[in-house]
């Protein structure tokens, strides 16, 4: 009975007792949820346009951040380093299009997934070879990002601490999603992109260049990765240890569906907040550290009941 009490009642009592702490937890969950959503967003971009499950998206986040910091450490001014990093992500997109996408077009999904796992290994090796494996400090102030924090009174005597960088992350994420939405719906390239997502061959037949579109989506995903990397790097160190966090963004995709932008955002928030709540209020029961798999379990159970994800349509199999 006491176990049931611990699971079903005690956490909620705890929440009610310290509402300011709860608010703090929710805020933290919200921010990491946004970052998960950003990783998932880069992923959705690529999957929509090319059907590639880009396992390397998480590594691209780390790689972008590492390139930025690494260049800065080698004496390049911060803003120039940012421009150069964007250029590097552009080169990466071109290389991926030329050396992975083009030769592997029309292969089964699983083959393409494994190719991106290969890409993951390549990028890890390359990043560490060039910039070294030791953890680095993100150049937050040099890029003009805020670093302070604000305390907001909450309830009778509690306070909630908001890191400015977290607020900036939220704002940038929202701008990014809005920008991508405009790009998709209002521009010529965006339309072409949606056409490719619907049907490769039909798109080809009306004169859309697949290769160009792929390079563009990988570049866009690279930019999203860079933004994510800066935000994430500012909250902890920059190193390939971040890779594990990127892996944690995958359940977001299961929840949201591989092709849905709103799904990525809502899924990201569910995972981010659910994970924090679970870890803080239920984690101690299990000895802690449940963050590493909780999101997967939530996603797994969810999938059993709704295999098509939050926003996906039910697929009818035809024979």
């Amino acid at each position: 009975m006491s176990l049931l009490y611990d699971i079903l009642v005690a956490p909620f009592v705890q929440m009610a007792d310290a509402p300011d702490f709860l608010a703090q937890v929710l805020w933290e969950g919200f921010v990491s949820g946004i970052l998960y959503a950003l990783i998932a967003l880069g992923f959705v971009l690529i999957f929509k346009a090319s059907g590639v499950f880009n396992f390397a998206q998480g590594i691209m986040v780390v790689f972008a951040a590492l390139t930025l910091v690494g260049l800065y450490q080698k004496g390049v001014p911060a803003l120039l380093a940012l421009v150069l990093t964007i250029a590097v992500m552009g080169l990466l997109a071109l290389a991926v299009e030329r050396f992975i996408m083009r030769p592997l077009v029309n292969q089964p999904h699983v083959i393409l997934l494994m190719a991106t796992i290969g890409l993951t290994y390549f990028l890890v090796g390359l990043g560490e070879l060039v910039f070294g494996g030791e953890p680095k400090q993100m150049i937050t102030t040099e890029l003009g990002l805020p670093t302070g924090s604000t305390e907001i009174p909450f309830g009778e005597r509690g306070v909630v601490i908001l890191q400015h960088i977290d607020i900036a992350a939220a704002v940038i994420a929202i701008l990014m999603v809005a920008g991508l939405g405009l790009f998709f719906n209002r521009t010529r390239i965006g339309r072409a992109l949606r056409a490719v997502a619907d049907d490769h061959q039909a798109a080809l037949s009306v004169g859309i260049s697949l290769n160009q579109i792929w390079a563009i989506v990988w570049f866009a995903a690279g930019i999203v990765a860079l933004a994510t990397g800066i935000m994430w790097g500012a909250r902890s160190d920059v190193s390939f240890a971040l890779e594990i966090i990127a892996l944690r963004a995958l359940p977001v995709l299961i929840l949201g569906g591989f092709t849905s932008v709103p799904g990525a955002i809502v899924g990201g928030l569910i995972v981010g907040i659910g994970e924090k709540l679970g870890e803080i209020y239920w984690g101690p029961l299990l000895g802690g550290g449940i963050e590493s798999w909780l999101a997967y379990m939530i996603a797994l159970v969810f999938l059993l009941f709704r295999p098509q994800g939050l926003f996906g349509e039910r697929i009818i199999e035809r024979v």
């Binding site: 050396f99 999904h109 995958l250």
Partner: protein, 360 residues
């Protein structure tokens, strides 16, 4: 000796369905087995046995385990490391609970536990397919990894959090495991187990059950209309695959590493085994050996071989370089030969058959 099938006529279906219908292949197999069981133990030094031969065989076995699930039954798994760990921890608990029991039996038994876990994590495969399933197998990986770290009971509440291989004898007093076991003994035991399981796996994949896996892999709806029950086909593939991975994991601890921390069974190991499957060839048992040899020996070559020919790149850079080279190789293999080294092997044999003519 020429590699020709000329003059070897099959007059029964039994002869046609043998594992090696060609006489030359049978001779080759016996030569390899003779080499492995007799020549290697006599000639190889401890470094070759400990650092190359033993881990190669164990990883080849794990590769067979994953290949059955991914290559034969078509269910991509990224949780191999977790299932191997499950076997290893099960064996550790078993042998510390029953110190008198024969360690080889316990190793073979510990696979049953990983098979059970495999079945549980295989259940979602009934509703979830393809890439979604691949992602959900990560749930198994991370959950099991967490168990190995957080559940003290699994490692008998050691302060270090690691599990060690205790010393165990056979009935004859030969030391099989622990620090005092000789390399040759461990090598022979590993070789015997790996060879036996490979044979059993071959029998499975060429029979009714193996065919049901491939049916599900190639066209699941058609398979169902021929009477295959997806529940049984998929879960049996998960069970057999995890059993083999579990045995490989147990041997990984007891015959190779001697002592492991939970990190040994991380997602890195899962990927390593997956790479072996890809490089070796999806849906090929012999390819598992090629893949394991390739992926395991490449870094050793880079570390030890390059300095020998005068190129020194530093120990740390070897790790990074290996990672890059493996990554590139994976992509190249997927582009050029998605069926891996096994396919190249087959093409080579075909060429040899018609040699010296370019085609038959």
């Amino acid at each position: 000796m020429l590699y020709r099938e000329a003059g070897q006529f099959k007059s029964t279906y039994a002869a046609d369905q043998a594992i090696f219908p060609l006489r030359q292949d049978r001779i080759g197999l016996f030569a390899i087995l003779g080499l492995a069981f007799i020549a290697v133990p006599l000639l190889a030094d401890d470094f070759i046995l400990d650092a190359i031969a033993i881990p190669f065989l164990i990883l080849a076995l794990a590769t067979i385990g994953l290949n059955i699930l991914t290559g034969y039954a078509g269910q991509l798994s990224l949780g191999t490391g977790g299932f191997m760990g499950a076997g290893a921890y099960a064996c550790y608990k078993l042998t510390t609970s029953f110190p008198e029991a024969n360690i080889i039996l316990l190793i073979l038994l510990s696979g049953v536990f990983s098979a059970a876990i495999g079945i549980v994590f295989g259940l979602p495969s009934l509703r979830i397919k393809g890439l979604y399933l691949a992602v959900t197998t990560l749930a198994a990986q991370f959950f099991l990894e967490w168990c190995f770290i957080r559940i003290g009971w699994l490692y008998n509440y050691n302060v270090s959090g690691a599990i060690d291989s205790p010393e165990r004898n056979t009935i004859g007093g030969l030391v099989l495991t622990g620090p005092n076991a000789s390399s040759v003994t461990r090598y022979i035991v590993v070789l015997a187990i790996v060879a036996l399981i490979t044979l059993l796996a071959k029998n499975l994949v060429r029979g009714r059950i193996g065919r049901s896996w491939m049916m599900i892999r190639d066209m699941d709806i058609a398979a169902e209309l021929m009477g295959v029950r997806p529940l049984i086909a998929k879960l049996s593939a998960f069970a057999v695959s995890s059993y083999i991975c579990g045995v490989a994991g147990a041997m990984f601890v007891f015959f190779y590493l001697g002592s492991v921390e939970p990190a040994a069974f991380s997602i890195t190991l899962s990927f390593q085994i997956l790479f072996m499957v890809i490089v070796g060839g999806l849906g090929s048992l012999i390819g598992c050996y090629f893949g394991a040899a390739f992926i395991w020996i490449l870094p050793i070559f880079l570390r030890n071989g390059l300095p020998m020919i005068g190129i020194d790149i530093g120990a740390e850079n070897v790790v990074h370089l290996t990672s890059m080279i493996v990554g590139v190789l994976i992509i190249l293999f997927l582009i050029w030969e998605p069926h891996g080294l096994a396919r190249l092997w087959q093409i080579g044999k075909e060429k040899l058959r018609v040699w010296p003519f370019p085609y038959a």
